[in-house]
């Protein structure tokens, strides 16, 4: 275990960008977990006297059209957006890499079926498909998660399939057969640990995209309903006020969105360094 932390330290210090991304990630997680505990105001509490006030010392991010504190709402929204993204990515990673690995290793029917299903999903512009799924299943946050998970599946399936396929006939796989391993054992103990680094990068990049997706869906009115605080819906509400100059309603949730996606994208490289034994010296 100590070796793991030693390596963690090395990776973080080696590339300052990874370190920054790591710190940002921690901040995001802390805010998500603590949420309403650290928010200065009740995110749902409206105050007719304080509508549309510009950012000030009392309200760091200003107030919105119902007098609610934007800063508190942005903080609380972190949890919702993060939970949506993490759940969606977790589902697509598990399901996608499972079937993708089977397709890549055994080929034949597996490959055909998994390939067809992935192709069918990819035949749609993905955001449009998400719109369709949410419209069909019903306008709830759960369905946003499922829709995002479904449209991300093909990425994991493809990466898993390719990575497993190129290692399927590697020397060490043949050697594992000679050592008495069954095919399933080989897939799990020999091949899967080797495909983790590219999958890790995929996950991190995907998290960013999942957040954008969820925000986009709520921007057009799907999923989250007012008065819940969620970054996308906050930007949507803020859009109406941009042309009259009240920029703070849309900027802060938008910036929060941008920073989290940015953070996850940067982490993608760092994660790969962490998991790849080539980096261990």
């Amino acid at each position: 275990m100590t070796e793991f932390f030693k390596h963690l330290k090395y990776v973080l210090l080696d590339n300052p960008i990874t370190l920054i991304a790591g710190i940002m990630f921690l901040v995001i997680v802390v805010v998500a977990v603590m949420g309403s505990a650290i928010a200065p105001y009740d995110p749902l509490a409206s105050n007719a006297a304080l509508t549309l006030k510009a950012p000030s010392w009392q309200h760091w991010f200003g107030t919105d059209q119902l007098g609610r504190d934007v800063f508190s709402r942005v903080l609380v929204a972190t949890r919702l957006d993060l939970v949506i993204a993490v759940s969606a990515v977790a589902i697509s990673f598990i399901v996608g890499s499972f079937f993708g690995s089977l397709a890549g290793f055994f080929g034949g029917w597996w490959d055909l079926i998994v390939g067809r299903m992935a192709d069918t999903i990819m035949a749609f512009p993905l955001f449009v498909l998400a719109m369709g799924i949410v419209a069909a299943l019903g306008n709830t946050v759960e369905n946003i998660v499922y829709a995002t998970a479904i449209i991300n599946l093909p990425f994991y399936a493809r990466v898993a399939r390719t990575e497993v396929n190129i290692r399927r006939n590697a020397g060490f796989v043949s050697a594992a057969r000679l050592s008495g391993n069954s095919e399933i054992r080989i897939l799990i103990t020999q091949i899967f640990p080797n495909i983790l680094p590219p999958m890790m990068v995929q996950i991190s990049l995907n998290m960013g995209w999942a957040i954008l997706n969820a925000a986009g869906l709520s921007f057009i009115g799907l999923g989250v309903r007012p008065p819940d605080a969620e970054w996308g819906i906050m930007v949507a509400e803020g859009t109406n006020f941009i042309v009259s100059g009240e920029w703070w309603l849309a900027l802060f949730p938008g910036a929060a969105l941008m920073l989290s996606v940015f953070c996850f994208n940067l982490m993608g490289d760092g994660l790969r360094d962490l998991v790849d034994p080539q980096q261990r010296t």
């Binding site: 449009v128 419209a135 849309a250 969105l257």
Partner: protein
């Protein structure tokens, strides 16, 4: 490779698109039938009475067995019948056809903008690693991928329209004072040029700049990233070393040898970029009140006009299949190795 076998491969590619179309039709069918509760209620709309719901149920055949429903659905599709939109009262197919040119015009300009910046930027970044061009490229890529497209749009409006006042008001395809040109293609810019009306052309063009740039920035990122990565990969190849060892000029090595090889993965990325583009189109149309099929879909969603939404998803998917097919065919024509391993 003789032209005969190239033709064969192209035909094969076209045939390959057929299962995709079948898949799309099946998925859209399932989506609409997977509605919770009674689908007829949804199709009839929120203002329906018990009789109209029953009417709809019979009209759409929702009381029949699924295979029969599917058959009805497909036969309707084949004659271009996508149902009637309950919000506008017009056939969905007609609405989509009317609004499609607006979306296409926007997407096309955005694509041209995107490619003309992404590719030179990517090449420059790849040939000058760790220089300021490389850093700019990386910054553009990361920012472009992290920024939500609707956020960019909104802030472009804020800065260029509200603060600087140099952009026109984001109210659609033409300013209020202009009449749309006589309809030929549906592309206001081209139609205006066709009748020689430069004022209208300019007005239409100027309205398009901000939404096109917004959309373009979003697609710029993956293209620049792929161009840079692909060029770097190709430039480190053995055959580039041979080309340099033969004394070939920098231009020849870069363009004739490196770029043409790098183009192949870039083309493949273009497929993904189109997916993002068509999706982001919806968001940009909302921000800029652009009367394309994206805003049609959003309005339909708000009033629960499911027939319209289904038609929209189907139309977008078919468009995407056509775009992908085009890329596939271009790829086949460029790469002489295609067809080696089937």
């Amino acid at each position: 490779m003789n032209t005969n076998s190239k033709l064969m491969i192209i035909i094969r590619r076209i045939l390959h698109a057929v299962p995709s179309v079948i898949g799309i039709i099946i998925v859209t069918f399932v989506l609409t039938r997977a509605l919770p509760g009674d689908p007829a209620v949804y199709f009839a709309g929120p203002a329906a009475t018990a009789e109209s719901i029953q009417e709809i149920r019979e009209a759409l055949g929702l009381d029949k067995a699924w295979p029969e429903q599917f058959w009805i659905y497909v036969s309707d599709l084949v004659v271009g019948n996508l149902g009637v939109s309950i919000s506008t009262g017009f056939p969905v197919a007609e609405e989509l056809a009317r609004r499609l040119p607006a979306s296409l015009e926007l997407t096309l300009i955005a694509l041209i903008f995107s490619i003309s910046i992404a590719i030179p930027l990517g090449i420059a970044a790849a040939t000058r690693p760790n220089s300021w061009v490389d850093q700019v490229c990386r910054l553009v890529v990361t920012a472009g991928v992290s920024l939500p497209v609707f956020f960019t749009g909104i802030f472009m409006i804020y800065i260029f329209y509200y603060i600087l006042g140099i952009a026109p008001s984001p109210l659609g395809r033409l300013g209020i004072y202009f009449m749309s040109p006589p309809h030929v293609t549906g592309f206001y810019t081209i139609d205006a040029l066709l009748v020689g009306d430069l004022e209208v052309f300019w007005a239409a063009f100027v309205q398009m700049i901000m939404p096109a740039i917004t959309l373009g920035i979003f697609t710029l990122a993956p293209l620049a990233r792929m161009t840079r990565a692909s060029m770097i990969q190709v430039l480190s190849g053995d055959f580039i070393r041979t080309a340099r060892a033969s004394g070939l000029s920098r231009g020849t090595v870069l363009y004739k040898y490196a770029f043409q090889n790098a183009l192949l993965p870039i083309l493949t990325t273009l497929g993904m970029v189109f997916s993002f583009m068509l999706g982001s189109n919806v968001l940009v149309e909302k921000v800029f009140a652009w009367p394309g099929i994206g805003s049609f879909a959003i309005e339909a969603l708000i009033v629960s006009d499911y027939v319209a939404v289904q038609g929209f998803v189907l139309a977008m998917a078919i468009l995407y299949v056509i775009l992908n097919l085009t890329i596939d065919i271009i790829y086949t024509l460029i790469d002489p190795r295609v067809g080696l391993d089937g």
